[in-house]
């Protein structure tokens, strides 16, 4: 029959990934508000449901009931397509992210490349949305997003190149299997490859923050102070989808950091590997991302580009050269 196992598997993974992304996007907002509250010694959301757990549902409901206004003079196609262009690549990236030994939608040989290819489309979506809005402030904001993303792609990709040199593969599943057997095998602590590996992880993390437009590099959106920057003109659920796209991108970025540096589904003591370890590491990193947001003030744009071009890129290059030398010697 046409209902072969492959099709069922495909459907299950599509539903699973979309559900995972949607629930994450919803509940990361809750987590963010809760964590921000506790860092400021407040409680955070607490009224809607127990511990405010129904708050994301209420927010979603509110956004859905709002009228979808299309302002005068916008490019109708770009304006409608842009939120989808932000959300879909984030979901697409999950195709090749291995959650555990068996739980992976498509074990591509170029998985890492695919994730980065999809991650770049997200910027395009933001730019098109801002351009289609016919709003000069949105366009300026989008230009800043693009320059920020371009500036931080470079050190990130240099770090990725060093990693690929160490692992010798672009297949994410293999990258993780090379790290199994306890935390001293993880790429963060692989001092035999390069003594600067923790620094590389730090650079990757900073670039991930900048790529996903998170604080302290969020001057392009500043959704709490400016009117959402690049998506100023978006009403209701259009804004909501952009917002969800941002959080989905955070999930992608932290998953990638987990896979590349923290050994994916590997248990720190090499006992019980499984999807739970992946999720624990991922959510710990997400916690750190939110923690960083409520610690540091926003950088200036000048400072952001300086950090990338003057510090991260030289250090990443140095790390690349060092790694290649170490690999040659040992």
């Amino acid at each position: 029959m046409f209902l072969d196992s492959e099709l069922i598997r495909l459907l299950a993974f599509v539903l699973g990934v979309v559900g995972f992304v949607a629930m994450n996007a919803a509940y990361l907002v809750w987590l963010e508000r809760k964590e921000a509250g506790h860092i400021q010694r407040r409680i955070g959301p607490k009224e809607v449901g127990p511990y405010g757990l129904l708050q994301p549902m209420a927010d979603g409901l509110k956004l859905m009931t709002k009228q979808l206004i299309t302002p005068d003079g916008v490019d109708p196609i770009l304006f409608k397509v842009a939120p989808i262009l932000v959300m879909v690549p984030a979901i697409m990236s999950f195709v090749t992210l291995p959650f555990s030994e068996t739980l992976v939608a498509r074990n591509l040989d170029v998985g890492l490349l695919a994730v980065f290819a999809f991650a770049s489309i997200n910027v395009l979506g933001l730019l098109l949305g801002a351009w289609g809005s016919r709003n000069k402030y949105a366009v300026i904001s989008a230009a800043r997003v693009v320059s920020q993303n371009v500036a931080y792609e470079i050190p990130m990709l240099i770090i990725i190149v060093t990693l690929v040199m160490i692992t010798g593969t672009l297949n994410l599943h293999e990258i993780v299997t090379l790290q199994t057997g306890g935390f001293w095998h993880w790429n963060v602590l692989k001092f035999t490859a390069s003594p600067l590996m923790p620094v590389a992880f730090l650079i990757f993390f900073i670039c991930m923050l900048a790529e996903t437009n998170r604080a302290p590099f969020d001057m392009a959106e500043a959704e709490s102070e400016l009117v959402a920057g690049a998506f100023t003109e978006y009403p209701g659920m259009g804004f909501g989808v952009f917002f969800m796209g941002e959080y989905a991108n955070i999930v992608v970025g932290t998953s990638l950091a987990t896979i590349l540096f923290l050994g994916g589904w590997d248990c720190p003591l090499g006992l019980f590997p499984g999807v739970h370890w992946f999720l624990i590491k991922m959510y710990a990193l997400i916690f750190v991302v939110i923690w960083i947001r409520w610690t540091y003030p926003r950088t200036t744009f000048y400072g952001l580009l300086n950090l990338s071009w003057k510090i991260l890129i030289p250090v990443a290059f140095f790390n690349l050269i060092l790694t290649s030398a170490m690999l040659k010697v040992f």
């Binding site: 010694r41 407040r42 409680i43 607490k46 730090l202 610690t295 540091y296």
Partner: protein, 147 residues
């Protein structure tokens, strides 16, 4: 060149120090007052609208209906009436209304009162929809407080 590396290292270190400070605050107990569910005790010097003072000895208010407060009030928000006390000197208060919509909380009425019959109340939760809600009958309030 030395300064460059020094800046990188000290800058990274300071970032971690900042994270350490916020995580300490993260685990500290919450200090927020959940306002609609719990209220803050008002300070004794809080100057809300005026209220009549309860006289413990005589079991009534201390007012002698001298109209001092009414004359002192710059915005004419106090109206009071009294009648001759039965078989005695002086007057007894029969009506004391405060129009809080006009009141500017200057406290001159409290200052001028010769028998110290007025005090500031501790009311602060005074939002409402109707102007009539703010015409207080202070005698009724006093009786309700000490009935």
């Amino acid at each position: 060149m030395t300064a460059y590396f020094k800046e990188i290292i000290s800058g990274t270190w300071s970032l971690f120090v900042g994270l350490g400070i916020t995580i300490v605050y993260f685990f500290k107990p919450v200090v927020t007052l959940q306002y609609p569910h719990e209220t803050v005790p008002m300070t004794p010097r809080y100057r809300g609208h005026i209220d009549l003072v309860w006289d413990e000895v005589r079991g009534t208010n201390k007012c002698i209906v001298c109209n001092g407060c009414m004359k002192a009030c710059p915005s004419n928000c106090i109206t009071l009436a009294g009648e001759k006390a039965e078989g005695g000197k002086g007057k007894v208060l029969t009506q004391y209304t405060l129009d809080f919509t006009k009141c500017s909380l200057c406290g001159l009425c409290v200052e001028v009162c010769p028998t110290e019959a007025l005090e500031f109340s501790k009311e602060y939760n005074l939002a409402g929809f109707d102007e009539k809600d703010y015409v207080f009958d202070l005698l009724k309030r006093l009786e309700a407080k000490h009935s």
